[in-house]
């Protein structure tokens, strides 16, 4: 039962966070691990879509998310945030990209800033799982085409037809009602005229 650290206030991440970190096998220990992840995060910010081993991508994803969320939270006038950006982005021109391109892009997002896909691995080849990590809103074509809007898919065809039939029935119903309504008053008028006539006579 440890007490939560209250000295820092961090926004909630919109990705699933593992309870423990991965050590990413490294002779230099945690520092070397961070260096690996810095390279990945730098590449991600630079290229916006990268393909790499799953473990490393999953680790780097959290850091990239937090870096962006901190940048959005504090802006470029905040010294610790600037130090963070300086540490995590090995190529310094990317610091400008972070604050001037990515922060405006993700300002109004309510989903995660990055996206991760599982990628197929070569067979035969290394056993490690592979993945694709990308920033949302990147300029490349999407990796998974959105099939839900395809009107030709079987269930969409069925639903479209069902909708059309429902409308047809509704229109037919309305027409029937109108017919009944228009016929009925005529009759009443005739009847009334009939009834009036004798009195007139």
């Amino acid at each position: 039962m440890n007490q939560a650290d209250v000295s820092k206030l961090i926004s909630q991440l919109r990705i699933v966070v593992r309870p423990k970190n991965r050590n990413l096998k490294n002779p230099d220990g945690p520092e070397g691990r961070l260096l690996k992840l810095r390279k990945t995060v730098t590449a991600l910010v630079k290229h916006e879509r990268i393909e790499l081993y799953y473990n490393r991508a999953d680790e780097a994803r959290g850091y990239a998310e937090l870096l962006i969320s901190n940048a959005i939270r504090h802006g470029d006038r905040h010294k610790p945030t600037m130090e963070l950006a300086d540490y995590w982005l090995l190529e310094k021109q990317l610091v400008h990209k972070l604050f001037k391109v990515l922060v405006p892009r993700y300002d109004n997002y309510n989903v995660s800033y990055t996206r991760m896909y599982k990628a197929p691995r070569d067979y035969p080849g290394m056993y490690y799982k592979k993945s694709v990590l990308e920033l949302r809103g990147n300029p490349y074509p999407t990796l998974c085409a959105d099939q839900t809007q395809n009107r030709n898919l079987l269930h969409n065809v069925l639903l479209d037809e069902a909708r059309k039939e429902f409308r047809r029935e509704k229109v037919a119903d309305l027409a029937n009602k109108l017919n009944v309504a228009t016929e009925a008053p005529k009759k009443t008028v005739e009847e009334s005229s009939d009834t009036i006539k004798p009195t007139a006579i």
Binding site: P120, Q147, N150, N152, L154, E161, A162
Partner: protein
């Protein structure tokens, strides 16, 4: 005392049911067994008739890249080509497209050099696959009906009209010896369950082109099929296309999807009586709705589709006289 008698009763009922099943099995084995035997023999004969193996060049178009495959003429199927690509291709592809126009069953041997596309259900233009799927559903419904009815019902499959997805339901027309059959909900559910069972078993759907005479012999005990055969044979230069799933064999133009595995959500919704047949029999139209496996649809939307599938399908009725010879071919 009462509990003991209950148990006794239950076991006796089970035993009687079992007896019935046995007689049914005997009955079916006599008719269906010979049909399957003939099917197997013809299949083997055709395989042996290939003789010297020739090579053909199949140009595969699609993901991950376009490749040319060197395959065996009259032996290799599109499925074999997919095996060269990846496991995912094998699993996903429901139908093949030859030369960009001709739909081709996944397990039908290729005849000559051509281009090949493999069609899963989520391609951008899935009309062909959808149609094949709908036809397969009608075909599988026939198999499911065969499994669910006892021999006393004297079930005879008549035919199924060509697939029309926009009508909202797939159809199989049957003849029963009863004129007042009205299935209860649980009975319809049992038929749906048969369909689902088949889809879980992942049975291959085999295709075989046979001569008309052989088809006659196979369907000699089925009155309606024998009646239909001459007109079918006339259209197709005396050849008839047969499909088999498990033990069930039926006539169909094809193509069909590769396996029963592609059948996902499925409901057999209703049976409409169409007309009386003879003194005691009647035509019934069984209708259902299905989605390919892997399609997600919420239960409300699917409920709407189920409701719509209850209405009588407007496809050509089996007891009406054929108007044009073009339409005579059953699906």
């Amino acid at each position: 005392m009462s509990a003991a008698s209950k148990i006794h009763k239950a076991t006796w009922c089970a035993f009687r049911n079992l007896e019935q099943y046995r007689t049914k099995a005997k009955f079916s084995s006599s008719a269906i067994g010979t049909r399957n035997e003939l099917f197997n023999q013809e299949q083997r004969r055709q395989q042996d008739a290939v003789g010297r193996i020739e090579k053909i060049e199949i140009r595969y178009l699609g993901l991950p890249e376009d490749v040319t495959l060197l395959m065996n003429k009259h032996i290799s199927t599109p499925y074999n080509c997919a095996q060269h690509l990846s496991e995912g291709h094998c699993k996903r592809s429901a139908l093949a497209l030859i030369d960009g126009t001709i739909p081709w069953d996944m397990h039908r041997p290729l005849q000559e050099s051509c281009t090949l596309q493999l069609l899963p259900f989520n391609v951008s233009e899935p009309h062909v696959v959808n149609k094949a799927f709908w036809r397969t559903c009608s075909f599988l419904l026939g198999a499911a009906l065969h499994k669910s009815f006892k021999s006393e019902a004297n079930l005879q499959l008549h035919s199924f009209p060509g697939p029309n997805i926009k009508s909202g339901s797939f159809v199989h027309d049957i003849v029963l010896s009863s004129q007042r059959w009205q299935p209860s909900k649980s009975e319809l559910r049992a038929i749906s369950a048969e369909m689902v069972k088949m889809s879980a078993q992942d049975i291959l759907i085999e295709r075989l082109d046979v001569q008309q005479e052989l088809a006659y012999e196979m369907f000699k005990d089925s009155r309606y099929k024998s009646e239909q055969l001459p007109s079918i044979g006339k259209q197709n230069q005396g050849r008839v296309t047969l499909y088999r799933v498990g033990e069930h064999i039926d006539i169909s133009r094809g193509p069909m999807v590769a396996s029963t595995r592609f059948l996902g959500k499925c409901t057999i919704g209703v049976s409409h009586k169409l007309a009386n047949e003879g003194s005691s029999g009647a035509f019934y139209r069984i209708q259902g709705i299905a989605l390919p496996s892997g399609y997600m649809l919420n239960h409300f939307a699917f409920g709407l589709l189920e409701q719509r599938a209850q209405k009588l399908n407007s496809a050509r009725l089996p007891h009406e006289p054929f108007e044009e010879p073009q339409q005579m071919q059953i699906s």
